[in-house]
């Protein structure tokens, strides 16, 4: 019988392992993050403890196995023993793992109980996922907004150089104060998403129709990045999360600024000032490419069988009332969202004008803020 476990093979193996050492060195920076909260530190140490336990077991079990492979081989002329069982051994190697598991379960239980206690929070934020953006609503302040990917599509399609935070940057980050217990309430407007910020050791699913609860307390100001972790359709990979943690004074200033900006935007919307066609088309294109193009495509052609085309469609070229209604209220039973609560009145006017005049739709229709306001459902 030929020997396949020759010394030469072992040399090859040794060489391969040495080659992979630089990779392993890089891997040390590729461990789980320790994060910036006391919970995330606990989670990190749980991870390391269970990892070392596994390593120790591996050394013992694989060590014995490789010892047998090296020594107890026919090529060495050994005679096989014929023993085939031992109740003592079976009991031993059932009992030892049970003991190890109990040791492991105790700290895991402790950390888990702490993680799941969201009581006595200082600030509550409602986090709503939808295809493919996050919405943050501060329940203690009059602030709410959407947070969208801000990486330009040129970078994604390799026609521009990729920035440092490629795919991990947004137009408006979530802003939190340091040292406060923040309670997040998670839900979704459409499919299941999952809000994940590794530095806080938070990953919680956002389920449509249900509300989940999780909390954090961050002591270190900084910018923390994550992304959606549950497959949520086409642009699941393009739904980042950026959290900016500020000192309380800066946070209060930010809150004030946001509240004022919101009030001003509402006043502007009330004015219902008419816009020129150029302005409507420019704002419309910008809004369309950020909000509508993920499904209907920049070309307006949609994805056959998945998302309908707007180019040449009946709604976008003929039936204006239906066009207004679809954009404002969405389409039940489909992925078409109700943009009436996502966009300002002038943005809706602009985007409808754009859709009716771009890609050769050329209806010449101009839709103004007042037309949209008239079509909006009465406020309750």
């Amino acid at each position: 019988m030929k020997r396949y476990f020759s010394n030469r093979n072992f040399l090859v193996w040794l060489l391969l392992s040495c080659c992979s050492l630089p990779l392993l060195a890089e891997a040390s920076s590729f461990n789980m993050t320790q994060g910036v909260t006391s919970i995330s530190h606990d989670v990190y140490s749980l991870h390391m403890v269970i990892f070392y336990i596994c390593c120790a077991i591996a050394v013992v079990v694989f060590g014995l196995m490789f010892w047998a492979i090296l020594r107890h081989r026919k090529a060495r002329g050994v005679q096989p023993a014929q023993f085939h069982g031992s109740t003592k051994m079976e009991i031993l190697w059932t009992a030892i793992p049970v003991a190890i598991l109990i040791v492991m379960a105790i700290p895991a239980t402790k950390t888990l109980l702490e993680m799941e206690d969201a009581s006595k929070s200082d600030i509550s934020i409602l986090v709503t996922g939808s295809q493919w953006k996050w919405h943050y609503k501060y329940l203690d302040y009059p602030i709410e907004y959407y947070s969208l990917l801000s990486t330009p599509s040129a970078q994604i399609h390799n026609t521009a150089e990729k920035g440092e935070h490629y795919l991990r940057e947004v137009d408006r980050p979530l802003v939190l104060p340091t040292g406060k217990k923040i309670r997040f309430l998670m839900t979704s407007d459409d499919v299941i998403h999952s809000w994940w910020v590794p530095a806080f050791a938070i990953k919680k699913d956002a389920n449509p129709g249900f509300i989940n609860e999780i909390w954090t307390r961050v002591d270190q100001p900084g910018v923390y990045r994550g992304q959606c972790a549950e497959l949520c359709g086409k642009d699941h990979g393009f739904m980042p999360i950026v959290v900016e943690v500020k000192a309380p004074a800066e946070f209060d200033a930010w809150v004030k600024e946001q509240a004022e900006a919101t009030a001003k935007a509402q006043a502007d919307a009330q004015a219902l000032a008419p816009m020129t066609k150029e302005d409507l088309m420019a704002l419309g294109q910008k809004t369309y490419e950020a909000r509508c193009a993920p499904c209907h495509q920049v070309s307006g052609e949609g994805l056959p069988g998945v998302f309908p085309a707007l180019k040449g469609s009946v709604v976008a070229t003929k039936n204006l009332p239906l066009h207004l209604q679809t954009v404002i209220l969405g389409r039940a039973g489909t992925a078409m969202q109700a943009f009436g609560k996502q966009l300002s009145i002038s943005e809706i006017a602009a985007v409808i004008t754009y859709e009716r005049n771009a890609w050769g739709n050329d209806t010449g229709d101009l839709v103004q803020a007042k037309d949209v306001a008239a079509a909006m459902p009465a406020k309750e």
Binding site: V61, L64, G85, A108, V191, F210, G226, A229, D235
Partner: protein
């Protein structure tokens, strides 16, 4: 009993006059066959084809992920690739391969002339090509194939999916029918057709593990059928099982799916345990250590598989008591699994080992499956799972247990029994080359996935942040090499089927024991027409 024997003999005589010994040639032999060896061959070849189709999808995924940015495919198609890759590998490659092995081996191992229900056997195979044709045809539809992942969570798979959903549901129904019939056949065969003297505690472990697997299949395939039916009615008939707006619950989908899904995981690994338990004693020239504890460990794993499903759902927002229960029950699985690994090592201990290709794959199985077990244990720790969930760490985990676990065991089994099937020894040099190429490339492919996962890369994304770029390029190269290595396997099989090689003896392997090694190589078309007596 004597009348039965008499009628069986009469039946055989009758058959001799028509088409026995070797059936007619051409396509009709394979279409109409009720012979367990023919059907086993069909299953195995079908599984090989699916392994390569699913592999091509994986290559598309790895090619797109080779660099950051979108290069080859668009996100929607990328999602179709991940979905089909999973479905094809689970239902098309791994499960049919095990059923093929059961068909070939169970009757020969228990001294039965054939499977107990041969016509149903034919049917359960021939459903499969139709089912997968339906599933794969969706690639050519408007909107393409299903894209909600092989787990097809609602409402992504209901309200937000394309019309491929209907095709997908029908394909899964067919698969389920096929699997249930295959499982019934295995159970009936093992209960009724054991040779005299083949008592329960003398059954080869492959037979035991398959018997337990068959019960799991019958228990959970109807659950899967229920899930897809609810998806179908939610999408097309206005029900709201998984829609909160109509009083349903999207999380209920996950409960039902994983109540099927977790036992399904063990359906794909228990027969692998049986294979390794057959191969290791042969090449260690020493009886299996702890046979009885192996049977009990397998049964315990099967039982536990029904009470751990929620560990797939720790981030869905469940009561803390449920999190604790499912953490403990999941950790518990490490105990019987550990017993198995310890028994294999004890079997090798003070044996006289040789290292032919089947043994090499079995040894790699033990080490690499155990690594997959370790990451499984880590995933059970709920607070840590919040960081691991839905990242490449999970992808690494289940590919270690499914590729270096289930697939390696299937490859080991093919090398081990191929001489019995074809009558010639496979090409050992090519076999060793296949092994070493696979071993190196599979670890290049899956080991770094642990690191990218821990560093924060979610699974199922077509594009990623720049810090993951180097690792992904390395992983992709490993993936391409692993794909190429499997062409060697194809060459080995092709040579053996064309009977190129040294003639195999009846026993084939020096240390092999069991009824299948007492019959000639290649195994005649009909074996054990008179049952052997097992001492």
């Amino acid at each position: 009993m004597s009348t039965n024997e008499h009628s069986a003999t009469a039946h055989t005589d009758h058959d001799h006059a028509h088409h026995d010994h070797k059936p007619g040639g051409g396509i009709t032999r394979w279409l109409y066959t009720t012979n367990h060896k023919d059907i086993g061959t069909l299953y195995l070849l079908f599984s090989l084809l699916m392994f390569f189709i699913g592999g091509i999808f994986a290559m598309v995924i790895r090619a797109e992920l080779f660099q950051p940015g979108l290069q080859l495919v668009q996100p929607q198609f990328f999602n179709q690739m991940t979905t089909l890759h999973g479905l094809i590998m689970v239902f098309g490659a791994v499960m049919p391969a095990f059923v093929g092995l059961a068909n070939w081996l169970v009757p020969m191992m228990i001294g039965a002339p054939d499977m107990a229900l041969p016509r149903m056997n034919n049917w359960s195979f021939w459903i499969l090509p139709f089912s997968f044709t339906i599933l794969l045809s969706t690639l050519f539809m408007d909107g393409g194939a299903p894209a909600a992942g092989w787990t097809f969570y609602a409402p992504l798979s209901t309200k937000y999916s394309g019309d491929s959903t209907a095709f997908f549901v029908f394909a899964v129904h067919l698969l389920g029918i096929s699997s249930i019939m295959g499982a019934m056949n295995v159970i009936v065969t093992i209960f009724n057709l054991r040779a005299p003297g083949m008592t329960w505690m003398k059954l080869p472990l492959f037979v035991w593990t398959w018997l337990i697997t068959a019960f799991l299949l019958i228990a959970v395939m109807p659950v899967l059928a229920g899930t897809v039916t609810m998806v179908l009615t939610d999408k097309y008939f206005g029900t709201s099982f998984f829609d909160a707006a109509g009083g349903g619950d999207p999380i209920m989908f996950q409960h039902i799916f994983w109540f099927f899904g977790h036992p399904e995981v063990y359906i794909m690994i228990l027969p692998a345990f049986g294979i390794v338990s057959s191969i290791v004693p042969t090449f260690a020239r020493k009886p299996l250590f702890g046979y009885e504890s192996m049977v009990w460990a397998t049964s315990s794993i099967a039982f536990l598989s029904f009470i751990v499903w929620m560990h797939h759902m720790f981030t869905t927002g469940m009561p803390v008591t449920a999190e604790l229960f499912f953490m403990y029950s999941t950790m518990l699985i490490a105990v019987p699994t550990g017993v198995k690994v310890f028994n294999w090592v004890a079997t090798m201990w003070r044996g006289a080992m040789t290292f032919e290709t089947p043994m090499m794959f079995a040894l790699a199985f033990i080490v690499l499956f155990t690594i997959g077990g370790f990451s499984g244990l880590m995933l059970a720790i709920v607070p840590a799972d919040f960081q691991y969930q839905d990242t490449y760490f999970v992808v690494a985990h289940f590919h270690y247990v499914l590729v270096t676990g289930a697939v390696f065991s299937i490859v080991a089994a093919v090398y081990y029994w191929l001489p019995k099937w074809t009558g010639v020894m496979y090409d050992e040099r090519l076999g060793q080359l296949h092994f070493w190429c696979s071993l190196v490339s599979v670890n290049m492919l899956f080991f770094p996935m642990h690191f990218v996962g821990l560093a924060g890369m979610p699974r199922r994304i077509p594009d990623y942040a720049l810090q993951f770029a180097n690792f992904n390029a390395f992983i992709s190269i490993g993936g391409f090499l692993f794909g190429l290595s499997q062409l060697i396997f194809l060459a080995v099989i092709f040579k053996a089927i064309r009977r190129k090689g040294v003639k195999a003896t009846d026993q084939v392997w020096e240390g092999a024991e069991g009824l299948e090694w007492t019959i000639p190589s290649p195994a005649p078309y009909h074996t054990f027409e008179t049952p052997p007596h097992v001492k």
